[in-house]
């Protein structure tokens, strides 16, 4: 089972520089825990006691997981999860 997880630049120190890593799990929470077993410390940058950290945005197949159940969002083989920092909006 493989779920592709895209990692923002600032967190690539946890993945040895890799832009994306693979993981497994039935929920986002399980997936993050799974990634943490191979990339120690990653979970702590994404999650705190209240759930997903405030300035962390996670998208499941391009949809913000906060609207899909947050950490309880169901994930499956073939899904793409993208992690991005929260930034101010604006057009060039």
């Amino acid at each position: 089972m493989a779920i592709d997880v895209r990692i923002p630049t600032i967190l690539r120190t946890f993945t040895g520089g890799a832009k994306s890593v693979e993981g497994s799990g039935d929920t986002l929470d399980e997936l993050i825990a799974d990634l943490d077993t191979r990339h120690a410390g990653l979970r702590g940058r994404l999650v705190d006691d209240s759930g997903l950290r405030r300035f962390v945005n996670v998208y499941l197949n391009d949809e913000d997981v906060r609207f899909l159940g947050g950490l309880d969002a169901k994930v499956k083989d073939g899904d793409t999860v993208t992690v991005l920092p929260a930034v101010a909006g604006g057009m060039r």
Binding site: P8, T9, I10, L11, R45, R53, R54, F55, V56, N57, Y59, D62, E63, D64, R66, F67, L68, T82, L84, P85, A86, V87, A88, G89, G90, M91, R92
Partner: protein, 315 residues
Amino acid sequence: MRYDSLLDAVGRTPLVGLPHLSPGPEQRLWAKLEDRNPTGSVKDRAALWMILAAERDGRLRRGSTILEPTSGNTGISLAMIARLRGYKLICVMPENTSAERTQLLQMYGASIIYSPAAGGSNEAVRVAKGLAAENPDWVMLYQYGNEANWRAHYETTGPELLADLPELTHFVAGLGTTGTLMGTGRFLREHVPGVRIVAAEPRYGELVYGLRNMDEGFVPELYDDKVLTSRYSVSAADALRRTRQLVHEEGIFAGISAGCVLHAGLALASKAQAAGQRADIAVLIADGGWKYLSTGAYSGTLAEAEARLEGELWA
């Protein structure tokens, strides 16, 4: 239609059907054309409301200086209104925004302070907040946190949509300061049972995200995620592709954020079609394509434009 002066002509924009892009007779897309505003963007609504509110509060007096972090459209709107109402305007803008923005701002008489490209609008906000602290007599309207921003949409954009499309099922707009979605979203939720309020968020390039420490992020003070039903992240490539599709198939020449909302709108239309559900999806087209011509987004092949922009499309 007749108005006493330009500021009275803000809003009341057309809602135009997209018969070629709509997947079928039961799932229709509609575009609200906000380029039909005095300075050519949806920001005229928020800018006017923020200035009027500040005048009512006594924060702004003739000759006051307004300071604002803006990637362009808000600055342009404020510059026009400031000119007419007798205020000075200083905009803090990322240095990599398109040339047309600088030209328009200067034409209206605004001053520009450029913030570093790295960090995008976040950095412009940070710089502006610093300047405001150093210059307490300047008035920072602060579009990211000013209630008048969302109020403008609650009082104008939302009611216009309801009047034009009472059968509305979805409203899609870009997510920047969040004012459009918060204001229009709140209004529509009060008046249209079951309405879906959907945010289309640009996926920025490395330059904007790259330096971002995960603890120093930015969430606009206006943002309340309870107003949204869902939020999509749209790549620059998809936004570009859809912007071109909009001009090729519907004749609408729009800015790149329109491609963003169209991409989300098309995904919603598809889902509705697959579920056999009726959908009337209004997408908000924030501005025309004029200010982006110099970026090369509309020239050459899609692949060439993507390569040229190389993820630096958004500020």
